[in-house]
């Protein structure tokens, strides 16, 4: 780990200030909603049931996602084949799609009239009902498996190939590899990945409702909707927002407490071959894992593509304008997110209890966008007219929401860079910017590219708070897609979904690829 004696530099203090601002950006709006509420607010039995159900489905979703991600990530780390890179990028698509598009794609495969059920029926088996808790978990796994795979894959790729070669020459068995490499990797990356997915799933709204099948699948987010819209009980909405804060901090403490750092150097984005202890069975299992994941993740996307492609060329001009607006918004959000994430990540590497600060940043995904959006609206409104600010505010909120993903990609890499390069830099007397530029940043290129790609894609695909502020002529691509759906124009909406999917993936790919350029040219 980093040498603790080092004083904090300007960049770390910047990180501390930014982290405080991020926490304020979440807690401020929450406070603003609370101030408008009549006290004391109370939670009814239905709210507690919603909290219990939310924790259950989110924990199950996170658990299943990371468990399934392990064999897939391991297989991708150990095998090389034509199209591997493209596959890794494409597999990320479900995570980057607007929820409703992903859900419709998923239902085209697993729904009552889906391909899978048609196949079952053709084989004479009973059709499977996807709606219920199993449907929620299925959809959350579909949406988050790619993220889990990428985060775990990063852990594997951090193992330097020299060490693998050493292990090979020492005649390591599969069990040796597991003990020496794989368990430490998983211990370092699994808790963070599980936490991230757990928190994403706690604010799930449309997925949980559509696939949940009815009111017994009520989540906290729906309870907040009800408090706002149905009962106009701001106090209950704010209180439920506070419950989300508590869940985030509690889960954060648990997960970060479980992380055990490991000291390995940075590696190249090449599968370490040959993997010691490789057998024919291992090869077959890896192939099976990759094939299964590919089918599960790409079939629904193929369904979206098949339905939308015919409408793509005939899309009305307003959709293309919205697409351009969304791209610019995504780039601005990404720049802001990176500017926030880098100093905070560097600060985190210097702290004795790094989980605390990162946990604060995680609040941005753990607290209801409806509460934050409404609070921001109230705050801005007390100063100026919020309507012309719809796009900048959406961009800012998108950057905040992307922050945890960037941090999760950056922090482990930054810790490693400090661990492996810090001492050398220290010995050379490198300080401040020089140290950052020559010793740390080169080691962060890849996670930075990956994280920035996630941030850009997220900002592109998410509806965000624009829906709360919307005015004519300011629509983003997801908003226009929803508007098409809401006015019966299903074909055009499916075309817009394909456009959105293509642009989002292209943005993600550009950043992700940019971060790996050094590895490729070396």
């Amino acid at each position: 780990m980093a040498s603790r004696a080092q004083p904090l530099g300007a960049i770390h203090w910047t990180g501390a200030v930014l982290a405080a601002l991020v926490a304020l950006a979440v807690l401020g709006p929450l406070g603003a909603v609370m101030l408008r509420a009549s006290w004391p607010p109370t939670l009814g039995p239905a709210d507690w049931a919603a909290i219990r159900f939310t924790l259950l489905q989110a924990a199950l979703s996170a658990l299943v996602s990371v468990t399934l991600a392990i064999p897939v990530a391991r297989a991708l780390a150990r095998r090389d084949f034509a199209g591997r890179r493209v596959l890794v990028t494409l597999m990320g698509a479900p995570f980057l799609l607007p929820v409703i598009v992903a859900v419709l794609g998923l239902l085209a495969v697993f729904g009552r009239a889906g391909w899978a059920n048609d196949l079952l029926a053709a084989l004479g088996a009973a059709r499977v009902d996807v709606y219920g808790l199993q449907g929620i978990v299925l959809a959350h796994v579909f949406l988050n498996l790619p993220l889990a795979v990428r985060l775990i894959l990063q852990g594997w790729q951090a193992v330097p190939s020299e060490r693998i070669r050493l292990a090979t020459s020492l005649g390591f068995s599969t069990a040796d590899m597991r003990r020496q490499f794989e368990r430490p990797i998983l211990r370092a990356v699994l808790p963070g990945a599980a936490l991230l997915i757990f928190l994403i799933c706690t604010t799930s709204f449309a997925v949980a409702l559509i696939l949940g099948g009815g009111p017994s699948s009520t989540t906290v987010e729906l309870a907040i909707y009800q408090a706002f819209r149905f009962d106009f009980d701001l106090g209950r909405a704010a209180l439920l927002g506070l419950v989300q804060v508590a869940i985030c901090l509690g889960a954060g403490a648990l997960a970060f407490g479980a992380i055990r750092g490991h000291e390995v150097g940075a590696g190249l984005d090449r599968p370490a071959l040959p993997w010691p202890g490789d057998t024919r069975v291992a090869r077959a299992l890896d192939a099976a894992a990759i094939l299964a994941a590919t089918g599960f993740l790409l079939l629904p996307l193929a369904a979206v593509l098949l339905k939308g492609l015919p409408a793509l060329t005939g899309l009305p001009p307003v959709v293309w304008e919205a697409a351009l607006r969304s791209i610019i918004l995504a780039l601005a959000s990404t720049a802001l997110a990176v500017a926030l994430a880098l100093p905070i990540a560097l600060l985190v590497t210097r702290l004795r209890r790094p989980g605390l600060v990162e946990g604060l940043a995680f609040l941005t995904i753990a607290v209801s966008p409806l509460v934050i959006g409404t609070g921001l609206f109230l705050l801005i409104r007390s100063v100026t007219n919020p309507i012309p600010l719809a796009l900048p505010v959406t961009g800012m909120v998108n950057a905040l929401v992307a922050l945890p993903f960037l941090l999760r990609a950056l922090v482990p890499a930054a810790m490693e860079a400090e661990a492996t390069q810090g001492r050398l830099a220290e010995a050379l007397g490198m300080r401040g910017l020089a140290r950052l530029r020559h010793a740390i940043l080169p080691r962060l290129r890849r996670p930075l590219g990956f994280g920035a790609g996630l941030a850009a894609a997220f900002s592109m695909g998410d509806l965000g708070v624009i829906a709360l502020f919307s005015t004519p002529g300011q629509g983003t691509l997801p908003l226009e897609m929803y508007r098409l759906m809401g006015s019966y124009r299903t074909d055009d909406a499916q075309g817009a979904a394909v456009l959105l999917m293509a642009l989002t993936l292209a943005l993600f790919w550009a950043f992700d690829r940019g971060g790996r350029l050094d590895a490729v040219t070396r």
Binding site: A206, L209, P316, L468, L484
Partner: protein, 328 residues
């Protein structure tokens, strides 16, 4: 995009510089202002006569609109709120933010009498279960639906105005027996979606035989897509109505303009835009003036509608019944 930002910036500056052009701000739901909704045509038509700048502000759906207004309170910029329905007007009236419109509406073509000092209707529709014409054994009422194995998709009353409409439909038709109807329907319901779009999307994807929508929904498929394969099931209990209304704010700085807009709302220029943009019945247009295709739509035997006060009073209990019956 850059142009949009610059334009937005300029319009703020321009708004200050050319203050002599009065601005009328109308809060409405998002799909009204979208390029496919009535907003653009209505704006053009009204601005041609009013010598003013009509500015729409979109906010989610009807319920989100009311929440927005409650958040803003008396300091709201809105002069007009357009797009609440009668399930929401009691709560809207209770805020005390609305002023009497002072208009005697002539030529309303609603199937019910209208007498409301604050709110005027601009369109309406009947809730109905829409299905494919190929569907066999179409149920004729809720009891037949509950007894059948026909699958339906509905919307959540807590997050959707059609969802709330269905809740009120069963309540108006069955009163104390509503719980039994919901228990019977539980196994027909494939799922409950957050909003209309998701439910309709699932129906079009073939996830259910029927979807809660409007009797006017088939008109879209018929007129815009030349597809006659969708129709609505006529229910013997009668069909609950959604009446969409607008009202002017007491705190408006443009009372004459606001009143002029409400009057304009009931003229053919506004009303003729409604059928093929909002896909609802206009509130003040004779049936003979409706576009071709509307005459093919199902005509319910009876129009059901709870008064705003009744709807507000019975809402919470109806929701509890719904939740209990469907959570089993």
């Amino acid at each position: 995009m850059k142009h949009t930002i610059i334009a937005a910036g300029l319009s703020v500056v321009a708004g200050a510089a050319f203050a002599q052009t009065p601005v009328l701000t109308v809060y409405t739901y998002d799909s009204f202002v979208s390029d496919w909704g009535p907003g653009p045509a209505v704006e053009e038509a009204f601005e041609a006569t009013c010598g003013c700048d009509l500015q729409f502000v979109g906010a989610g759906d009807g319920a989100a609109l009311l929440a927005r207004l409650r958040l803003e309170g008396e300091s709201t910029e809105a002069d007009i709120v357009l797009g609440l329905d009668t399930n929401l007007t009691a709560a809207a009236r209770e805020t005390g933010l609305f002023a009497p419109h002072g208009i005697t509406p002539d030529g309303l073509t609603l199937p019910i009498a209208w007498d409301d000092a604050e709110f005027l209707p601009f369109d309406w529709g009947y809730f109905a279960f829409v299905h494919d014409t190929a569907l066999a054994n179409v149920p004729g009422d809720f009891e037949a639906l509950a007894a059948s194995d026909i699958s339906i998709v509905i919307q959540d009353p807590r997050s959707s105005t059609p969802g709330l409409g269905l809740l009120m439909w069963v309540e108006a038709a069955y009163g104390d027996g509503a719980g039994e109807i919901w228990e019977g329907l539980a196994d027909n319901i494939v799922t409950v979606t957050p909003g209309w779009s998701e439910a309709y999307g699932l129906f079009l994807e073939g996830e259910a035989d029927m979807v809660l929508s409007y009797t006017t929904s088939p008109a879209y498929h018929l007129i815009a897509e030349e597809d006659p394969s969708k129709t609505a099931a006529a229910f013997a209990e009668g069909h609950y109505m959604q009446v969409e209304v607008a009202g002017m704010l007491a705190g408006t700085d443009q009372p004459e303009l606001a009143q002029a807009f409400l009057s304009f709302m009931l003229t053919p220029e506004f009303q003729e835009v409604i059928p093929t943009t909002n896909w609802m019945y206009p509130a003040a247009l004779p049936a003979s003036a409706l576009p071709e295709g509307f005459e093919t739509l199902v005509q319910p035997s009876q129009a059901l509608l709870l008064s705003p006060e009744d709807a507000a009073a019975r809402r919470d209990e109806a929701l509890a019944t719904w939740q209990a019956a469907l959570s089993r």
